[in-house]
Amino acid sequence: MSNVSTNSVRQLATLSALELDESELQLLTRDLEKILDYVQELDQLDTTGVAPTYQVTGLSNVWRQDKVEESSADAATLLELAPHSQAMQVKVPKVL
């Protein structure tokens, strides 16, 4: 049985940039335990000497010319998508 503490879930939420409330933390603690219990069946599998697979295409180092291509979306269009912008810049709350 996996043992996940609410405190470690709180820490995970911080790392994941999720501001969860207490009830969400309780629920996710329970769910995480259940899911980790389930995926632990992988322990039964002998993977000694097996290389991991990260992708299946076999493609590697796909190059292109270092040339700027015309995009269908210009800077003004993209800036319109930002919730807060000012003087052609994306605006964020004070960082420091």
């Binding site: 501001e19 969860l20 996710l28 899911i35 980790l36 389930y38 069946e41 697979t53 299946v56 998508l81």
Partner: protein, 469 residues
């Protein structure tokens, strides 16, 4: 049998019906099925404009594309013009895409007309469309049951004959399972066959773009147009999609014994056995094969995919696009925008992903799962030495009732047990309609081919088509 896409295009080209009439009919039909909640938006104005353009081109004698005037619907995780792209989430509720997905551009270049956006589990996270932030989609055959997911809306609009085809994405079964639940074809191509540029990322190592249709030849036509290398998606393969005319008259088909256990609903099992019998009658050599490693595929998937999800969803920060929460600091802005903008299943998967990727657990979970994935791929390679095609059910059950699985995430994940193995290996797979259960709910059979043997898969499905009408 319904009119094929090719026949519809012929009817438009010979002016038996105009593109405008065809699109108007599809839009009208879409409105009559609003109680299914299959569609999140209609791009009516743009669709009608495009239809008029097609009709004008036709009147001036121009050569038209292979999909001229054919209306279609896309899952709302494809960036498209004419309607918002929400991914069924609050964080993108008012997001107007600045560009279109390559898949849509290719279809539109052949004259197809996108009429609207279909409902999904938020960001594609789910197998029932109950995780949509805007409410679930109802099954085309029984409104008390789920549409399946995550591409539930696309499956339902196809099954209800609103459009001849619809696009979906399939990361671990999100096209095949709803296709099975609604009784239509649903194809997931080989990984890398279709560009994912302009499609909202879920898990980059297994995400694929595919389609739903009611006829095998329609699936083939749509897939062949979408497939091919895209300089804007470096994971795409050079075009390998060829006509399926060179199909062998007798295929060796392996039924994966480990997927036909007593955990499968009896009616699903029976429908699968009936389909196997039809394959034999058509002259194919069907044998049972063993694949014991398959029982680890779901656990592998639910480590690898949340890890990739937690990385891909990091981009939703309330700054460059999407909804921003009220906040005084940057940390609050991130945390609150994401808390308010994601549904619980999004958060659950981000948290699992963060857990398996965190130091101390990386080797035990993430690395272990990627090694298990290698063993799974090797098992497929071995089976494909003696088989052309592998067969299993698509889902252990037919469409389930609303809320029957939502309280237990592991129970919900178990619905994906048949569809995730080919996804982890990048293999092409298709859900083929194969009868009904005792309640009249559709059953789908899954056929799987070797990597990049998509044409062989479609060839077999086309050949088998009349056998189960």
């Amino acid at each position: 049998m319904r009119q094929s896409i090719a026949d519809l295009v012929l009817a438009i080209q010979s002016k038996q019906v105009s593109a405008r009439q065809t699109v108007e009919m599809a839009l009208a039909k879409a409105k009559t099925i609003s109680d299914y909640h299959a569609l999140l938006s209609l791009s009516e104005e743009r669709a009608l404009q495009r239809a008029d353009q097609i009709d004008a081109q036709l009147a001036s004698g121009q050569t038209l594309g292979r999909l001229s005037g054919v209306p279609f619907v896309v899952k709302d995780n494809f960036l498209a013009f004419g309607a918002p792209t929400t991914a069924a989430t609050r964080i993108l509720e008012n997001f107007n895409a600045p560009l279109q997905a390559t898949a849509i551009e290719k279809l539109e270049a052949e004259g197809a007309i996108c009429i609207g956006k279909a409902n999904l589990d938020a960001f594609g996270h789910g197998g029932s469309t109950e995780n949509s932030a805007f409410g679930p989609t109802k099954n085309a055959h029984d409104k008390t049951r789920v549409a399946g997911g995550s591409s539930g809306g696309s499956a339902v609009v196809t099954a209800l004959d609103v459009v001849p085809f619809a696009l979906g994405t399939d990361t671990g079964g999100s096209i095949r399972q709803p296709a099975s639940f609604n009784g239509v074809y649903g194809m997931k191509p080989s990984y890398g066959a279709v560009s994912r540029f302009g499609v909202i990322s879920m898990a980059s190592s297994t995400d694929t773009v595919g389609c739903f249709a009611t006829q095998a030849s329609d699936v083939e036509l749509v897939m062949s147009i979408m497939a091919g290398r895209d300089p804007r998606d470096m994971t795409t393969l050079p075009d390998f999609f060829k006509s399926s005319s060179e199909l062998k008259s007798s295929c060796k088909i392996g039924v994966i014994r480990d997927t036909m256990t007593e955990d499968i609903a009896p009616d699903v099992r029976q429908a699968t056995l009936d389909y196997i019998e039809k394959l034999r009658q058509a002259g194919h050599d069907v044998q049972e094969v063993d694949m014991p490693i398959i029982k680890y595929a779901l656990a592998t998937y639910y480590v690898v995919v949340p890890a990739e999800i937690s990385s891909n969803l990091a981009r939703y920060d309330g700054i460059r696009y999407g909804q921003a929460a009220e906040a005084d600091s940057l940390v609050e802005l991130y945390g609150r925008s994401r808390d308010q903008g994601f549904v619980m299943e999004n958060k659950r998967r981000i948290m699992i992903g963060s857990y398996v990727l965190s130091s101390g657990y990386f080797d035990a979970y993430y690395q272990k799962a990627q090694k298990a994935r290698t063993l799974l791929i090797q098992a497929y390679d071995t089976l494909f030495e003696s088989c052309d095609i592998l067969l299993s059910p698509v889902s252990p059950t037919t469409a389930f009732e609303f809320e029957s699985n939502v309280s237990d995430p592991v129970k919900m994940y178990l619905a994906d047990i048949m569809t995730v193995p080919p996804s982890l290996a990048g293999l092409p797979a298709i859900s083929v309609p194969a009868g009904q259960d005792k309640d009249g709910l559709p059953v789908g059979v899954q056929l799987i081919a070797k990597y990049q043997a998509d044409n062989q898969l479609l060839g077999l499905v086309k050949q088998m088509e009349p056998a189960h009408v």
